[in-house]
Symmetry: C2
Subunit: 370 residues, 2 copies
Amino acid sequence: MRVKKIVLAAAITMVAAVTLAGCGKKSSSSSSVTTTGSTSGNYQGVIENGRYKTSKARGVNTAQNANVYNLKAFESGLINVSKLVFSTKSYIFQEGQYLSSSTLDNWLGRKTSSNPTGLNPAKGKSSDPNPEYIQQIEEQDYMQQSGNSLKLKGIVIGIGVNSEYTYQKTTDGPNYTKNISNAEVQKQGKLAAAKILKRLRARKDLKNVPIVIALFKQASDDSLVGGNFFAYSKNNGSTISSWKTLNYKAVVLPKASDSTSSNSSDQSDNSNFTNFKTQIQSFFPNLSGVTAQAQYYNNSLSGMNITVTTQFYSETEIQSFTEYIVQAAKKYLPNGIPIEIKIQSSNSIQAVVYRNSGSSSYQSHIFSSY
Amino acid sequence: MRVKKIVLAAAITMVAAVTLAGCGKKSSSSSSVTTTGSTSGNYQGVIENGRYKTSKARGVNTAQNANVYNLKAFESGLINVSKLVFSTKSYIFQEGQYLSSSTLDNWLGRKTSSNPTGLNPAKGKSSDPNPEYIQQIEEQDYMQQSGNSLKLKGIVIGIGVNSEYTYQKTTDGPNYTKNISNAEVQKQGKLAAAKILKRLRARKDLKNVPIVIALFKQASDDSLVGGNFFAYSKNNGSTISSWKTLNYKAVVLPKASDSTSSNSSDQSDNSNFTNFKTQIQSFFPNLSGVTAQAQYYNNSLSGMNITVTTQFYSETEIQSFTEYIVQAAKKYLPNGIPIEIKIQSSNSIQAVVYRNSGSSSYQSHIFSSY
């Protein structure tokens, strides 16, 4: 499969009919047109000259996140914000092509005479430094087919704002941590958004394209869940039009018994999960860990990722346990939301049980070896 | 869910209708009856007093296998041999309950005055020791419902025979390795089988039950695939009735370019896989590894496990790459056999694409995080 030109495939009608297995398209009218294909509800990606078109700032955010949960939550979350504005049926996803690694590295730095575009404030006193507020920035491009090429129809920018700042007063001295209030996170995120919008709009090639900016509050470095998006704004001009609130929250289950739940729905989610956990622990000997990440959207549970860790002594144990977990999940876990259950031994994943968004039945796969 | 008695559920008619998602059963006539449920083509497992009934020799084989591929291939392979004799629709699987850890530890040892039941020969000269031939033994029980309890209807014993023997002539001296010929593997496996059959048949509780014995040739410790079953025998008496040949083989793909393929079908399987590998490597930058375990049954490809390892720099890369892999798998990989593709970064699994046995479409799952 050699592809010579810019590429894509709208395949809009196809996508609607696409099932779990995914479905790509190779145009019959032109040999140069391909996409990654798409699974239901996901974007198709862009292939150029036969290769996946990676970001111009590839790897910048990987280096910016000490906590891998923040990286994953930021990127998956940004795609979800994009879906609110750019339908997966009408738009094709392209990794950011307008902001380069060096541009972003500069923006993520402190503002100094040698780095005038830095979005973070100058350091100030070593004994009481100004926090670095802006931790990561990501660009995503949304495209539509136009004749034989792709045309940019929208840009989405995510900005990750720190909720705490760790520093040392002297080189190799002890670490100090400043908490950054929610109000400050909001303020700093919106300040950075205004600057970034102006800078992008000043570019000739981005003069007329809608620019969506979304703000993300980073979780602390030791958190077992990532942060969350809390606001976004869609802009046609060069100043922020208005902010829409996003109400996401991620928590770890089971909750510590002394934790105060904010509402009764949280409590019942926690107790459902605890029942599931108790059930599978009484079934299988010596389970060493059963924990979950639970995500809330507008105060309703919107998804769960469960990890079950134990030592297995045989393949047949893995098979039987996986089948049992499917039953327990059906019985104890909530309906109508995506659920993922990883079943792993200390070294490696052994099986996965999952129910995708929009599906009513669980799938399971036991990892095989010959 | 409290379960008070011995347990099970034949659920025979249900199993036939069961789909991928699995389906358990709780009898309406008795509150004490449960199973692990069953996915299509797999056995249901036994739950006793609400707990999974583990093997009486739990963990023995884990300790016996330096190469984890041997352990997995042995146990999955033994289940496949069992399916040739005991239908998954009519029988319920139970982990071995008749051979204890201490019995098996003795059997797997050398025969000495203090260990008269050892299946391996006395050591002989340190400078030229007799090999330890028998490396692992596993028991599986096959049950049927009888009134309110389960009745044993068959036992399957797997015997793993070494294809090489590593020893030291002096304590802490260098390692020496003796290859064990195929003829010797066959001979030693059959000798051990005859002894084990006699020992089991001498037990009152196993007097009348069919005893299937299957022989497995262990792969070398540094092999990237496990060994394979090469013979089995179903016995109603106390001597081996006759041996049936099993023609399994597992290989690693892609093959080294200088390897001589045994036949043209092997060559075309290798070249199909190489095309798949080339295709995804030209698509995605810097793929660090694309390898496969391929299994053959009666000289036809019967399954593949592919591992793709690379560094990903964003969630969107993982999503796009996974969707592309589904397309490439459809185009380049053979139809009609189970295929598993693990997509992982150096640390952890990121996605899985698979097509189950008997299915014509691929499923994919991208691991999620909040």
